[in-house]
Symmetry: C2
Subunit: 218 residues, 2 copies
């Protein structure tokens, strides 16, 4: 994710060579913007079409129904989330800690540069409660995220980076709750939150090592 901290972020997603895909993508991005501004409550196909610079009938040509448009956007966001959260090699002495920090870094990035992304995800999260198709995609997204965190926790405990007296299965909901809380409330003190979380879950051994390393550098 850190690699994509640029202006382009997630927009170029469908094949830009394909004219058909281009317009389709433009409509999806327009839908994203409208939802970000007005929520699902204010999502109007006309607004989406106008924003994409096409006629309302053209929208229905690419997305037969409003529901198709919504599901298309859900899949777009889901796919992008997986891409951005994909496993990346992070060479370091504390791979688990690095991944934890990456997670916070991602949170900071969205909060600072693309809060509308978190907002739209919340909109979808809420809509999923009454829309099985959306829920399915949302569940996949969450499962992917959960698996990543769970793996991180297990690795961290296995290599002695994280405390061993918190069961992996219990540490996960803890982190998940913290991350979700950050995304929703937009915690202003995310740095302090990160620091304290580390203080909490790092093993004494890893703490000492880190202090030593930092002490040597400073």
């Amino acid at each position: 994710m850190a690699d994509s901290h640029n202006g382009d972020w997630w927009r170029p997603l469908l094949d830009p060579e394909d004219e058909h895909g281009k317009r389709r993508a433009a409509l999806l991005h327009a839908a994203f913007d409208v939802i970000a501004e007005a929520g699902f409550e204010g999502l109007r196909t006309r607004a989406v079409a106008t924003r994409a610079g096409v006629n309302i009938a053209t929208l229905h040509y690419y997305f037969p129904s409003k529901q198709d448009l919504i599901e298309g956007l859900a899949q777009l966001i889901g796919a992008k989330f997986v891409t951005l959260h994909g496993p990346a090699p992070r060479p370091s002495g504390f791979p688990a800690l690095d991944r934890l920090r990456q997670e916070f870094s991602d949170g900071r990035f969205y909060l600072k540069h693309h809060p509308e992304m978190l907002l739209v995800v919340q909109e979808f999260s809420l809509r999923g409660k009454r829309d099985p198709e959306v829920q399915k995609i949302f569940d996949q997204m969450n499962a992917y995220w959960r698996d990543g965190i769970e793996q991180m926790v297990q690795e961290g405990i296995a290599d002695g980076t994280f405390r061993h007296d918190i069961p992996p299965r219990e540490m996960f909901p803890l982190l998940m709750s913290i991350f979700t809380g950050i995304a929703v409330s937009g915690a202003g003190q995310i740095e302090a939150l990160e620091r304290n979380t580390e203080t909490w879950i790092l093993s004494p051994k890893a703490k000492k090592k880190l202090e030593k390393r930092q002490g040597g550098k400073q």
Copy 2:
């Protein structure tokens, strides 16, 4: 809050003697139900009126506009939240810990018995981003909650129940994030989450006392 864990919960809110207030309340409760089922996206004045058993024109008699209805419900929920979260005397050796546990207890209660309440609050939270009037009420609600937690943290640190090496101002966003995360994700492992949170923030002294007390009882 624990005292109100009954079937009536928060419904009897306005003066039931007043016929005018009765109808008004019925409309607000109907609106609550509609939002719980269909979200703001699906909130229709007709549905609310029908549910309350009155004509659409009667709804507009009590609430001139849809916006008035929404703001009325926001205030209703806000007021009830303050009532339910009001400071209650909790005689115990660990007042701060008791309040912490009460907070988790409240979370469990809503998740188990009234998840629709959390859902509607989320709907309002999201709507607040584009509705200043709603946001104002929501902010008051959150400020009240925050103050309570902040006070709890300060008391807990002052009387030695909580760790003193975490600044109160840093412990607060931590708990806030955890609570929010629970409400949103509906964490299934809320019990484990509570246990680990306690392990985290309790001071060593308080832990020993608790262990002793529990050991003596069991």
